[in-house]
């Protein structure tokens, strides 16, 4: 510790000692730092590996169990002539548990995790405005959702194409589309699913402002997700179904019809937006005036 040396002697003069007039309200710097934090965490890297392993497992399992050329039923062989069925199947499988779990872990870290470490008080005294912090945290959750979906789709596409090739795709309507338009369908499905997960992220962000235990926030969001799935499968409460976040999640199959069937997709997106707005506002209302005693 060399106490006598002036700290900022060799800083070039742009404003007093490195201070610039804060012109922007949102800074890309903080968001980048946030994403680096998420990406650098070992646990998150392991999570991405698990997300990527599922489509690879599916591809290998189908390859090993599918009958030899010419002897199987036409249906199966026409599906497996295009490797892109692998990412789609993987998304369907992981949407139940793994993808929501990934969001729940990120959401737990977002506010509760920072509160638990005590870093929240130092961010707020930097200062980072509370609204700015929440908006940045939510932006990073949305990017995280897209990231997770992209990893599943890319791993699935690589494994699928390697094992099954790039033939035409059989749509759910029974027609065939070219590989090129099949790629676009997969992109649409990915965006739709990421939107649903981003809405779940808003619920997670709200829960994250309620506790100082990241694990508690993660578990709470998983309970929310699983209860939603259960409620969605009980026909006696069908009046509730349109209000459930997960109700239209599996409707992504409608994007694989020819032509795509948009009604349920649109309904699903509206529910996503409604959840994101309502829980985003709840998170803000809770966080804006909260005493930070951690």
């Amino acid at each position: 510790m060399s106490a006598a040396e002036p700290v900022l002697a060799d800083v070039p003069e742009r404003g007093p000692g490195g201070r610039v007039p804060p012109s922007r309200w949102l800074s890309a710097r903080l968001l980048r730092s946030e994403l680096r934090l998420i990406a650098g965490r070992r646990r998150n890297q392991m999570g991405l590996l698990v997300l990527a392993a599922v489509p690879v497992l599916i591809a290998v399992a189908v390859r090993l169990s599918s009958p030899r050329e010419g002897r199987g039923p036409d249906f199966l062989s026409s599906i497996t002539s295009n490797g892109l069925f692998v990412p789609l199947a993987a998304l369907g499988v992981e949407l139940g548990l793994f993808l929501p779990l990934a969001i729940a872990m990120l959401a737990g870290d977002a506010v509760a995790g920072e509160a638990n470490l005590g870093t929240l008080r130092y961010l707020l005294t930097v200062p980072v405005g509370r609204t700015r912090l929440l908006v940045t945290k939510y932006a990073s959750l949305m990017i995280g959702a897209l990231w997770g979906v992209a990893v599943v789709v890319l791993a699935g596409a690589i494994a699928g194409i390697a094992l099954f090739g790039t033939g035409p795709m059989l749509t759910l309507s029974g027609t065939e589309i070219s590989f090129g338009s099949a790629v676009w369908r997969v992109v649409l499905v990915s965006l739709y699913i990421a939107a649903g997960l981003a809405a779940l992220g808003a619920v997670g962000l709200f829960i994250s402002t309620l506790t100082e235990q990241p694990l508690a926030a993660t578990v709470a969001l998983m309970i929310f997700t699983i209860l939603s799935w259960i409620a969605d499968s009980v026909p006696q409460i069908s009046w509730l179904h349109p209000w459930l976040l997960v109700d239209q999640w599996m409707a992504f199959g409608d994007l694989l019809r020819d032509p795509p069937f948009w009604d349920n997709i649109a309904r699903g997106l509206w529910v996503d937006v409604a959840y994101a707005v309502v829980f985003g506002l709840l998170a803000w209302a809770r966080f804006a005036g909260k005493d930070i005693t951690s």
């Binding site: 060799d10 800083v11 490195g18 610039v20 007039p21 710097r29 070992r42 470490l117 870093t119 130092y122």
Partner: protein, 323 residues
């Protein structure tokens, strides 16, 4: 002993104060952790904020920084009301609140980079130099690449101080900055505070270690059980306590009689002699009177009470934390 408070308040308008609070109160449930305190911290001062465990120092600091909403009262930092003006004023305030807190799996440098990235007022082009300068100033440059979880307690504390020094500051609010530091580190922090203060930075430093505060502070405030029991310049606060004259002699009875005749108060026997409060009687007069009276004086001392004694007299002797 609380008179200095009014004197400072009338002589300095709020604009000249780095920190000013009025009736600042925080209740957790029914219990008041901070109970109507009026802090007066002049610009350019090094203000020692003293108090035993649980007396409300950290809670006060949290309110000053806008982390906790007061139950009653107002506060201002560098002339800006808190929490309303917090976003405008906090870039000029460096702080350390209740010990260090960083991401354990990031290196010390990466943690500072993150805090710098969060600061809209920080110029990204000078980020690297400012981070290195701050690390150098707390002696962490060599270990900056280590993951934070591998840091020792003292290294963590130093990193937290470095974070407060990332930008040029007008005010530093340091909550027990020497907690966990070795004697060498403690001395370095004291030097650091002195050098910052000589640049004109106001330093508000909380502590329960009196010795460290005594040496570096120009002003003192003492908390006890949520209340500010005294405040003022170190001189004023000390001046409130009367010095004691002590005579070591083999004739304590004669000495005691002479001291009483001279007008000393509270004359009493102590092991090997007597003592009393001179109350304006000049020490040389006392010695002369003793010698004249034929008392063999082995040793004669006049001492002001140590800050330690003063502190205990203000905040109570008990070891138990109130609450």
């Amino acid at each position: 002993m609380t008179q200095p408070l009014e004197r400072v308040q009338t002589s300095a308008s709020e604009r000249d104060l780095a920190i000013a609070t009025r009736g600042l109160t925080k209740r957790f449930g029914a219990r008041a952790a901070v109970d109507g305190i009026d802090l007066v911290v002049p610009r350019g001062s090094v203000y020692g904020f003293l108090g035993p465990n649980g007396s409300g120092k950290t809670t006060t600091i949290r309110m000053l920084l806008g982390l906790v909403r007061p139950s009653a009262g107002t506060s201002s930092l560098l002339g800006q009301p808190i929490p309303k003006g917090a976003q405008a004023v906090l870039p000029r305030v460096g702080s350390l609140v209740e010990g260090p807190a960083f991401h354990p799996y990031l290196s010390g440098r990466a943690n500072l980079r993150r805090l710098d990235a969060a600061d809209l007022a920080a110029d990204p082009r000078t980020s690297r130099q400012r981070i290195d300068a701050a690390l150098d100033r707390v002696g962490l440059l060599a270990t900056a690449g280590k993951r934070y979880r591998a840091y020792s307690l003292g290294m963590r504390q130093r990193l937290a101080i470095a974070a407060a020094l990332l930008m040029p500051r007008e005010l530093l609010v340091l909550d027990e900055p020497t907690n966990g530091l070795d004697p060498q580190g403690t001395r370095e922090v004291r030097h650091l505070v002195a050098s910052l203060a000589s640049d004109g930075t106001t330093v508000f430093v909380s502590s329960h270690l009196l010795s460290e505060v005594e040496q570096m502070c120009t002003h003192l405030g003492v908390m006890s059980d949520g209340r500010l029991v005294t405040q003022g310049s170190t001189f004023e606060v000390r001046g409130g306590a009367a010095p004691t004259a002590r005579v070591l002699t083999d004739q304590p009875t004669v000495a005691a009689r002479i001291l009483s005749e001279l007008g000393l108060n509270g004359v009493e026997a102590v092991p090997g002699g007597v003592r009393g409060t001179p109350d304006g009687v000049a020490p040389e007069k006392i010695v002369a009177a003793l010698v004249e009276g034929g008392v063999g004086v082995k040793e004669f001392t006049v001492t002001s009470p140590s800050l330690e004694d003063l502190f205990v007299s203000l905040t109570g002797e008990g070891f138990d934390v109130s609450g």
